[in-house]
Subunit: 498 residues, 2 copies
Amino acid sequence: MSESYEKFIARVEQLADLGHAQALLSWDQETYMPPRGTKMRARAQGTLAGLEHEMLIDSELVDLVRDLQGEALEGDGAVNVRETARQQKRALKIPAQLVVEMTQTASLAHEAWVEAREKADFSIFQPWLEKILDQKRQVADAVGYEGSIYNALLDEYEPYAKTEEIAALFADLRTQLVPLVEGIAASDRRPAEGVLDRSFDVTLQERFGRGVIADMGFDMDAGRLDVAVHPFCAGTSRDDVRLTTRYAEDWMPGSLFGSIHEAGHGLYEQGLPAEAVGMPAGQSVSLGIHESQSRMWENMVGRSRAFWEHYFPLLQAAFPGVVDDIDLDRFYAAINQVEPSFIRVEADEVTYNLHIALRFEIEVALVEGRLRVDELPEAWNEKMRSYLGITPPDDAQGVLQDVHWSFGGIGYFSTYSLGNLYAAQFFHQAQRDIPDLMEQVAAGQLLGLKGWLNGHIHAQGARLTADQLVREVTGEGLSAQYFVDYLRTKFTPLYGLD
Amino acid sequence: MSESYEKFIARVEQLADLGHAQALLSWDQETYMPPRGTKMRARAQGTLAGLEHEMLIDSELVDLVRDLQGEALEGDGAVNVRETARQQKRALKIPAQLVVEMTQTASLAHEAWVEAREKADFSIFQPWLEKILDQKRQVADAVGYEGSIYNALLDEYEPYAKTEEIAALFADLRTQLVPLVEGIAASDRRPAEGVLDRSFDVTLQERFGRGVIADMGFDMDAGRLDVAVHPFCAGTSRDDVRLTTRYAEDWMPGSLFGSIHEAGHGLYEQGLPAEAVGMPAGQSVSLGIHESQSRMWENMVGRSRAFWEHYFPLLQAAFPGVVDDIDLDRFYAAINQVEPSFIRVEADEVTYNLHIALRFEIEVALVEGRLRVDELPEAWNEKMRSYLGITPPDDAQGVLQDVHWSFGGIGYFSTYSLGNLYAAQFFHQAQRDIPDLMEQVAAGQLLGLKGWLNGHIHAQGARLTADQLVREVTGEGLSAQYFVDYLRTKFTPLYGLD
């Protein structure tokens, strides 16, 4: 190892350690921090982000990266230099002061959003969103872009992706989904009614959920499960991965599928390459690839009939007397009810993607300046009518429902649907590689899939881009067709469509 | 405000924010971090501590402090500059290489101490303690001192205190305590026997403890109470103060008095001046003053008969059937049992101070070179016989019992007894200022004392030194007499002494 590379790694480790601290401070803010801690936490996060930024663009590190790019390193060394160079290039172009301002704005905007949503009053959040968008356009102008200005923002969440390509994938997806949703909506089946709206003891929900994620292979010696208002998976390293969920006595599927979803993310984090821990090569590829892991476990496994062949009797035993009057088929149909609804996070796996298409189109229009923030609630409601045939009763159930924009997450949403597309394409491949995969699932053996994901996806770290990864694993680039085929195969019999 | 001062404050805020992050990472490590997180957490803490050190001694901050010392600032500005200069001077004088060596030594010495204590074999720890003492003398020589070399080490924990003054206070204290302990030991009363060794449901213990600390005025909107193996109070600011305690079904006093003790620390932190939050002027004065707050609440309030006039019926109601067969007087005597014992952390409020005097005298003699490390176990046991009349059966229950030395914590112990002395002197003053204070306590009204502490001590931040504070609040310097009088008044009737 060259002396330059050793110096480079020492600095990269310091960057990772600042990231470690920021990740823990964020996790704590959403789980255990007392309410009055917000202000000083925002200041501390601002300082840490500012230090990380300064450290990333420090001239000595810039020189080291330039020297190492000339050394034509191989293996992880090359990945570490490539990814540091990419982040450095972006950071060098964004003024340090803007970074600090954005971090502080995010924390305060988040508070405003909480209040706005509570009061269903968009006007409380509007000035903050305008400020965030203004900052984001400054970022885009600073880093530069080809094509849409939105590309500059997308790169933060889905590196190397292009707005134009996503727009094309989503147009294809939407064209095929709207008729499917219409066909289902025209059906008179409402399989969830009377099946899921029962009282499930919260302590038992937690116990059952913990059992399932243990079966998935999530390691509690290297992780936790806590409660958060808006569930997420965060972590400081592959050895410390923190899942969150939320429990409601009258809505068991919320905590169960939420826990499975976050554990899908968590398995990815815990499965990242040990030999590259704390290094860029040891990170996940992108949010889209991350979401493919959570969605696969939540929907393709957790909402499959095979899964419930094993778990439905266990559910009946875990909640004595609560679901004794229903059978596996009724339960399976109920957890797969498709119905246009207002709230993205409660949407089924078919309509979900129309919620995302709406957000993606609105974000691009806002950032490109084709839509003003004060026009946003109406634009939102108009698209809800057009794609899902329903109108939100208020902004809390409309434009104010998501947390993302409140912390400056512009460019994030598309990664959710990209996750579904990647998930279906990977899952199709997993079933080719493990022909009895669904038989294993039906026997409660989930470690076969976990092992396949560990080997083919998790252990790769960030060595490949998302596009390279999907090509290496499945032999072709990302397509919407695997996901559409998966949905048609599953929902045609459930809803008696042709 | 001068431009220099603004620049200075911006850097001081960054230092505080790095402290915020380190405090949260430590808290998390002791409460919620999964076991495998240890390695990366240690690395992250090392990086943050290193960055804080670099930032403190950065030449621009050194220049700013020097300029501002010339400006003769007043009020909080002067305090902020004074305290930063003090820390900077210390950090600048200790060679970086020595800091690295001490960190490495501490880690290895701690391992050796764990093994030595397990095997009750001092010889395993002896060479490490010699090395630590050698390093500490190098630190003292580097930072400089007047009088005892020990003064240079004391300054880290109890700023502006003097070894010679503490030695005189402790000699006075010891001279008066030894006869009191002898008198009690000669009595045949063992009031705790059969009273406290009962089974108290842990959930109910937590509920009861939370009730008491709420009555004390600890604000859960600006704090938390969690579980830790070694309880502590930590916090990231006055708006986010984290208490910890531990519950054992067969030892209720451990969690209850532990919670009250930590809440005493917590009230201090929450009461620090809002206008100086995150500034040196907004910090606590010293470990001794901090300990005065915890000890006052734990012992002078929490172990008073007045307190239990209100709380004993509530305790009986909170734990149905558990303490119905005993009355207030028996319970009050039981929680105040005095008995010479080997282990400091389990000692009662009388003998505790003899444990501390012993450690202080030994530390000073070791650092001053009047005692060799190989003579330490015998010196320890000799003092145990002389002060407490008992001889430890082995070194695990003697000289090896405390963790402090293994981490290089030389100069810390005296702050525990200083806390008791400050507590008694402050509490005496509080009773003069609030003549019906104990009647309030007996009625469960604890906010009168809290308000007095807030106004006279907490809201002062670090504007006064400990000596200045005790003189301002009580009109005289620290004396052992208030504490001795408090103990005599309390324990003479309890043990039927004259």
